[in-house]
Symmetry: C4
């Protein structure tokens, strides 16, 4: 049975950070973890959160087709990779959805982040290969130094949320809890 | 219809960070997003937040005229630009209010941030050009390294708030929600 | 009339970060702002917060005399100065309590932060001069690189709290508030 | 008597950050402070929090034996040491449990963090020496630059929580409290 974990445990629309460029748009959004209630006081993280990147193509001057969007879900470690990316460094992540349980997908995705030639930003390039439909969709969005600074800051902010550390808000004395937590002094 | 999003969703006066210098004062304040309630559990960000800079002139020894204040509202990406500004770097932002919907304004503003000659801080210079009244008001405030460190830290703090990411506080299991969120494992 | 601003708006004892060294101990503690309620939804920051440093002398092997403690209250900008201190840099702050309203004090204090000879940490030295009693108390505590990293991190954390930005938690649409906030698009 | 300090002051399972490598797994988890209620409004931190590292060995291809886990509890200053660790730097911490009150343990532990040969990450090596059983268990886990970036970010996040600074949420005017807090202007 689901639980409410805060005033906005429902959907929070419009809270994306989106950058619109010539050929495509790139937005990022925090997808928080889901939790299950174990009993009246304890909860269990059911699924870790992600940072969801979405790419969708430009179809005209300042017009973008949201119907053609493709997603890439960044894990905590992938977020850590982007946060620690040096000015001249690049990184690439691969997601093979066919290897995921019950996905039934034949889709492989790769996200490549490489510095722009002026050294002031990065190209975010998404490739989505579908072996069923034999299609390969590509998106490329240049991200400026200022935009990447926003990404880095909000990624720093979301990492504890993705892992569920933000809901750990201060413990109680051991004797007041009905089960025995290990005394930390024993470590 | 408006909703309350926290204990202090009303105005919070006196929470500015202000620096008083010889020719002018510069204050900065967080203007949080506004939200609309969609239903009993979901909300929608109506308007992104900003960091509001205010400049007002000195009119005597340690006397400043708040009536003559001028504002400059920093967007998330502009905040990102300031956060990532290197010691010898500068940046400039332009706001043309005449291009904004329903503003009816003939005002153009520019904010320039440039390193001081000693390399230890920045000059924040605001120019407000009004083509109706044919006036051009100028403010210039030197910001020390320590003051800029305060700005950088609080700007890092407000970026998730400006984008509305601070209210995303932990999701519920999909089955407990009345609508189908996409399973993140599918991305 | 005072208001409660959170579950722990009372005193929170034991939340200091303290380092014990050969000649003295140094602890730091967050003193949050105080607020006044203006009406049912708006509040006003009454007094900005500080980071309170406390020094007290060693009077034997691992024995310290808390009765002889001296304080130094760091403002937001002084915290910013410490946060942005480079490895070989130093800074010094002066507080003249005789210039403060209603203090009736003849005390002048200075805090000096200077790199240790190995370049891996800083000496925090407090001097308290009392012109009435003609005394000058001095404390000096070496702070290691690791301890200074803790200070830097928690100082980054407290800066928005000191300024009161942490209680600004998301606005409501203008039309739902009984007074007219300026539309941010006008800036 | 214990108090509830938030919606999740109970146990929050599954909120660890774990990395699985060839010879062992390494997880980290926030253990928040415990608090005691002093009266209706004041509380006292009873025990500081820690970051609990857990190591457990691989016993086959992608199989790990959680029963053989060993812990190492990082204090605030040890967390600060890791946060400020330079790319080519190393550090080592020693915990002698026999010197802890009432532990009755004959165990000594050491955690060593040293850069990998490619300079892009660190080896986290735990040694647990038990003088009773005359055993010495060793674990070594390579941590990539991206994984260490996650650690650094969440360690920055937890430091104020470990010290209890996250629960200090905004004070009230002195006159509304039944005891006299020192006026900060006196420092």
């Amino acid at each position: 049975v689901g639980i409410s974990t805060g005033p906005y445990s429902g959907r929070t629309l419009g809270t994306d950070y989106t950058i619109f460029k010539g050929k495509a748009a790139l937005s990022m959004q925090l997808v928080p973890p889901t939790y299950n209630k174990l009993n009246s006081i304890d909860i269990k993280l059911d699924r870790k959160g992600v940072v969801m990147l979405s790419f969708w193509p430009a179809v005209g001057q300042r017009k973008y087709d949201w119907q053609k969007k493709q997603h890439f879900a960044l894990s905590a470690t992938e977020v850590g990779s982007l946060i620690s990316l040096g000015p001249a460094e690049s990184c690439e992540f691969f997601h093979d959805l066919s290897k995921m349980a019950r996905s039934g997908s034949e889709v492989k995705k790769s996200l490549s982040v490489a510095p722009t030639s002026d050294g002031n930003g990065y190209f975010f390039a998404l490739s989505v290969m579908n072996s069923n439909t034999r299609t390969n969709e590509r998106f490329s969005v240049p991200v400026t130094k200022a935009e990447f600074a926003v990404m880095r800051t909000v990624f720093n902010f979301v990492l504890p949320k993705i892992l569920g550390w933000d809901i750990i808000q201060g413990g109680r004395p051991v004797e007041s809890i009905g089960h025995n937590l290990p005394r930390q002094s024993a470590f």
